[in-house]
Amino acid sequence: MASAASGAFEPVLTRNVGNPAALTLDGYRKGGGYEGLAKALKMQPDAVIDEVKRSGLRGRGGAGFSAGVKWSFIPKGKGKPKYLVCNADESEPGTFKDRLLMEKDPHQLIEGCAICCWAVQASTTYIYIRGEYSFANAVMEQAIKEAYQAGILGDSVLGSGFKLDVYMHQGAGAYICGEETGMIESLEGKRGQPRVKPPFPAVVGAFGAPTVINNVETLANVPHIVVRGADWFKSIGTDERNTGPKLYAISGHVERPGTYETAIGIPFSELLDLAGGMYRGGKLKAYIPGGASAAILTADQAHLKLDFDTMTKAGSMLGSAAVMVMDDSTCMVRSVARLAKFFNHESCGQCTPCREGTNWLELLLTRIEHGEGRPGDPQLLRSVCKNMNGTALCALAEAAVGPVDSLIKRFPDEVDQHIRDRACPFPHRRYFSNGAS
């Protein structure tokens, strides 16, 4: 869990990493903590939303939807209670940035939540944290307790009369509970499976009430926007549509895997240099820019900027910015088969294309990797992907399709070689014969 910043970039979100004092309320306040909240409480809620909108902050969880616009969907006025649900499920394979933020700087997240709640006039925040993050959960619980004692949370936030409660809610380890409606169902105590949309959570969310759902990193950005202003935020990044600091969780065949904060839109090759280059000087073969559900990019595309729009244009996505690097010793079929196994395991099972399609993809890819593939299998894989794409209830089916589709498109020779040679050309153990890999 190393953290480093490029020489030119002054860390924003990770500024307290390496400063254990910031774990306590006093330590956090010394570094200017909760000034953003105090400032926001003096502003009109709509003004806060406008500021965030103007900053161009886009959701850091994967979809990249404008946070300010999302907040503005929440109906105004009294009526039903409103909720903020902070998505700390972080279950996308390869992603470990939110964990860092919660473990090293819990008050930053609490402050972000509080500002968001003020902006949309929500009185309750649920932080839905991944069940495996027990340490992060303990840190957060401690910080919340401190915040209550200091009057930052509770009946009157910083003496403003605004009431706010924050609860931690531990998930039970399901990928699908990172999907926002699946998360709401789980939060309500039901089986975690996505709801049919519309209605969207902004209208009917948790407990039937309007609900904002934001990623940890998104909310962590909010205090800085309020304190330093939208113009400062916009000055960071590639262009108008890709602004602000960004955490990249890089893993795989690199010398120093970890979370790195830079301005959004750093080219992949520069990020790779930050992480110390390829592992033992290996040759880059491919990388996944945004977690397991993003399409695989090849070494030819290493110059691309890691921002939302560039990645979309390249046929992949920034997603959660979990960059997985693979050198030329990697069997792409095996890697993708492993990802397909993950998605099959994590499909909730309610909708047909995902339930049956993820299963079928895994069976086919495993067969190919085992050297039992048949000549028509690449076409069949493509066809199954096509039937899954855009037909399912939530985005999981499309996530499962992403890597498989790019495998067929970008590494057709490798797939063909598996089928032609009736074996995997890479030297390694037979692939997960008993379910382990």
């Binding site: 099972g349 047909t352 993820t358 299963n359 096509k386």
Partner: protein, 708 residues
């Protein structure tokens, strides 16, 4: 209302209508599995994907609502067809393709859509399909079995138990491709409506223990009808093969039972199914003619008695010939001038027979076997008794809540021509059954479908009618028309007619049991000072006959039909009724009462005749025969018509439609109705009592919606 264009057909629908319903209105069928009009929309099966102009992706029709004008939907585009084909492939890759041995074959949604939207070959070439070993026949409850291998995870059954039954018995377990349906540990699918999950299951995963593998569905003849299980009047489809009913299925009627019916009602077809299951096979001498036998286990009202009744055999079908027992073939000592004293007859009661060993046997030996006679001879005997015996005692007519309105009307006419005021309806109370619908639901208590219709048609003693009229007059309301019910079971009805002061006592008395209603009526009249009249006349009503000693004072007692309730199977009641000097029974079952009759007339079941029932909400519903009656059994209307024709030729050759039109012309309650104009969903009667009903009988279901 917004307009929507579906495949170039434009329809106007209410805002908020989903595309499946809108397309249905436009005459376009959008395939679907998980969507059901009464269940929440989950968009899981993805079969209903359609292309909507202006939307980049295909949209689920069930989850898309028409909100404003101008939506253009396509269901025939290649991309839609491709998606449907893709979904069918996904559903079929792990589904067993063993339709020939699957009970659902012939009414299977998967089969139907596979023909229409599927492909004929499989691209899923692996050794094994996904199976659930050991989960091929899991009893979810008493009435439903689950075969997990056939399930397509549409969750209709889960949502049904959550949203309609309100019990939440079923749930999803595991996830992804291993997702299973099941009950929670230690729980069962145990509610009144449980078997509805079998109806809404689009595939063969859920089967009814009562029907599974009883018949291939494509051999069944299906006819719309009504359930006779209780007074709710659920619309059903009778599914039979060559006159043997195999099952009932609910038939959609939004005003009564919506899409549902209860498990009890479904089981009632076994009454009519014909297999002799009780000890004492029909026609055997130890059964016929000896009161107290056959040995119906238990006491009235217990489950044993109800089961015995449900499984009682058809007498005449099994006898093979017209086994009409008439006076000559079973000379009972009390019929002639040499009749023994009442004490002598009472000595033959079961208790007495038991006390004197061999008593029953010796009497049996003396009784000759019943001889078959023709319908004409049997009806002649009935007419002769009715004409000649009035001097020997009262003539009483005991109707049943199973009579159609037309039969009850003719039966009341029989009382008129026989010159007797003693006519009433016997009805049992059963367990309370609630059938949900959009208006909240209908709750039934009486275990017969048409007590209201029978009373409206005139099966109410005239003295009570007169007394009721007087009551109403003193209370200042308008005089109720003839045929207005005097009281209703459960203390709920009668609000429009019975004196309000008597309602409380009536309600209390009605709790007593089946014919507490008679007691309630008496209490009502006692309250307005007509006690003397009532006591003199009313003793021959259902209450007096079944629970008092009125039958012993009857010269002629006509019971129509014999299956009026558990009483026909209760040795004590049978013994009471057979003390009448002449007992005439119209019946379709070989009940002990029919066996005890002096004249037994085989008539049709509701599946074998036409008629109308008036349900608890005073809704007239019409049904027509599904198949002809067996042997020489005939519809009661026909038999009564022939009998009445002996008095007055204008009653000759009447069938149910003609009788209904005649009674509609005569009885104000049915004014303006005609047989052929009764709508498919029934016609509500405009009665004071009908207006009073909803408040007490319509209950709002609990709010069990998920996702709120």
């Amino acid at each position: 209302m917004p307009k929507v264009t579906i495949d170039a057909r434009t329809v106007e629908v209410e805002a908020g209508t989903n595309l499946i319903d809108a397309a249905f209105k436009a005459g376009v069928h959008i395939p679907h599995y998980c969507y059901h009009p009464r269940l929440s929309v989950v968009g899981q099966c993805r079969m209903c994907l359609v292309k909507i102009d202006g939307m980049p992706k295909l949209q689920a029709g069930c989850a898309t609502q028409v909100m404003k004008d101008g939506m253009v939907v396509h269901t025939e585009l290649p991309e839609v067809k491709e998606a449907q084909q893709g979904m069918m492939e996904f559903l079929l890759i792990n589904h067993p393709l063993d339709c020939p041995i699957c009970d659902q074959a012939g009414e299977c949604g998967l089969q139907d859509y596979a023909f229409k939207h599927g492909v004929a070959y499989s691209r899923f070439q692996f050794e094994d399909k996904r199976t659930y070993p050991g989960r091929e026949r899991i009893p979810l409850g008493a009435n439903v079995l689950l075969n997990m291998n056939r399930c397509i995870q549409c969750t209709r059954c889960i949502r049904f138990t959550q949203e309609i039954a309100g019990t939440g018995d079923l749930g999803f377990f595991h996830r992804g491709a291993r997702t299973e349906i099941g009950t929670f540990p230690g729980k069962h699918l145990d509610n009144q409506l449980a078997t509805c999950v079998v109806d809404i299951c689009p595939v063969g995963a859920l089967t009814s223990t009562r029907f599974r593998f009883a018949e291939r569905v494509f051999y069944l003849d299906k006819k719309p009808s009504l359930c006779t299980g209780c007074e709710v009047g659920c619309n059903i489809t009778i599914e039979h093969r060559r006159g043997v009913i195999k099952r009932y299925k609910p038939r959609f009627n939004p005003d009564v039972n919506d899409y549902w019916m209860c498990d009890y009602g479904r089981a009632t077809f076994e009454r009519y199914s014909g297999a002799p299951k009780v000890p004492g096979a029909p026609g055997t001498p130890e059964v016929r003619g000896v009161p107290g036998t056959p040995e119906v286990p238990g006491v009235p009202g217990t489950p044993e008695v109800i089961i015995a009744r449900l499984t009682a055999p058809r007498l005449w079908r099994d006898a093979g010939s017209l086994g009409v027992a008439t006076e000559p073939m079973r000379p009972r000592p009390n019929l002639g001038p040499e009749a023994p004293s009442k004490a002598g007859r009472q000595a033959q009661s079961p208790a007495a027979a038991a006390a004197t060993p061999g008593g029953a046997a010796s009497r049996q030996a003396a009784a000759p076997a019943p001889a078959p006679v023709s319908w004409k001879e049997a009806l002649d005997a009935v007419a002769r008794h009715l004409r000649s015996r009035s001097a020997e005692g009262a003539i009483a007519l005991l109707g049943s809540g199973f009579l159609t309105t037309e039969e009850a009307y003719l039966f009341a006419q029989l009382a008129e021509v026989a010159g007797t005021p003693h006519r009433s309806v016997a009805v049992d109370l059963g367990p309370e059954r609630h059938i949900p619908n959009l208006q909240g639901g209908v709750t039934g208590r009486e275990a017969a479908p048409n007590r209201r219709g029978a009373e409206l048609a005139g099966l109410v003693p005239q003295a009570i009618q007169a007394a009721t009229a007087a009551t109403a007059a003193t209370a200042g309301s308008t005089t109720p028309p003839m045929g207005t019910p005097v009281s209703t079971a459960g203390g709920a009805g009668g609000a429009g007619t019975a004196a309000s002061g008597a309602a409380a006592s009536g309600g209390a008395a009605a709790e007593g049991g089946g014919n507490g209603r008679g007691r309630a009526a008496r209490a009502a009249h006692a309250a307005v000072g007509t006690a003397a009249v009532v006591a003199a006349v009313d003793a021959f009503d259902a209450d007096g006959l079944l629970h008092g000693d009125a039958a012993a004072r009857c010269a002629v007692l006509v019971v129509c039909d014999s299956d009026f309730g558990d009483g026909a199977y209760d040795p004590v009641i049978v013994e009471r009724l057979r003390r009448a000097q002449v007992l005439i029974v119209f019946g379709w079952a070989d009940s002990p009462l029919a066996q005890a009759a002096d004249v037994a007339l085989p008539v049709a079941t509701h599946a074998e005749k036409d008629g109308t029932f008036v349900n608890i909400e005073w809704r007239v519903q019409r049904f027509e025969r599904a198949f002809p009656p067996p042997g020489q059994a005939r519809p009661t209307v026909e038999a009564l018509s022939e009998l009445l024709a002996r008095y007055d030729a204008r009653w000759a050759n009447l069938a149910a439609p003609a009788v209904f039109d005649r009674l509609a012309a005569e009885l104000p309650a049915f004014a303006g109705l005609a047989w052929h104009q009764i709508p498919a969903t029934g016609a509500p009667l405009d009665l004071p009592a009908a207006r009073a009903v909803p408040a007490s009988h319509v209950q709002a279901p609990e709010d069990t919606a998920v996702g709120i």
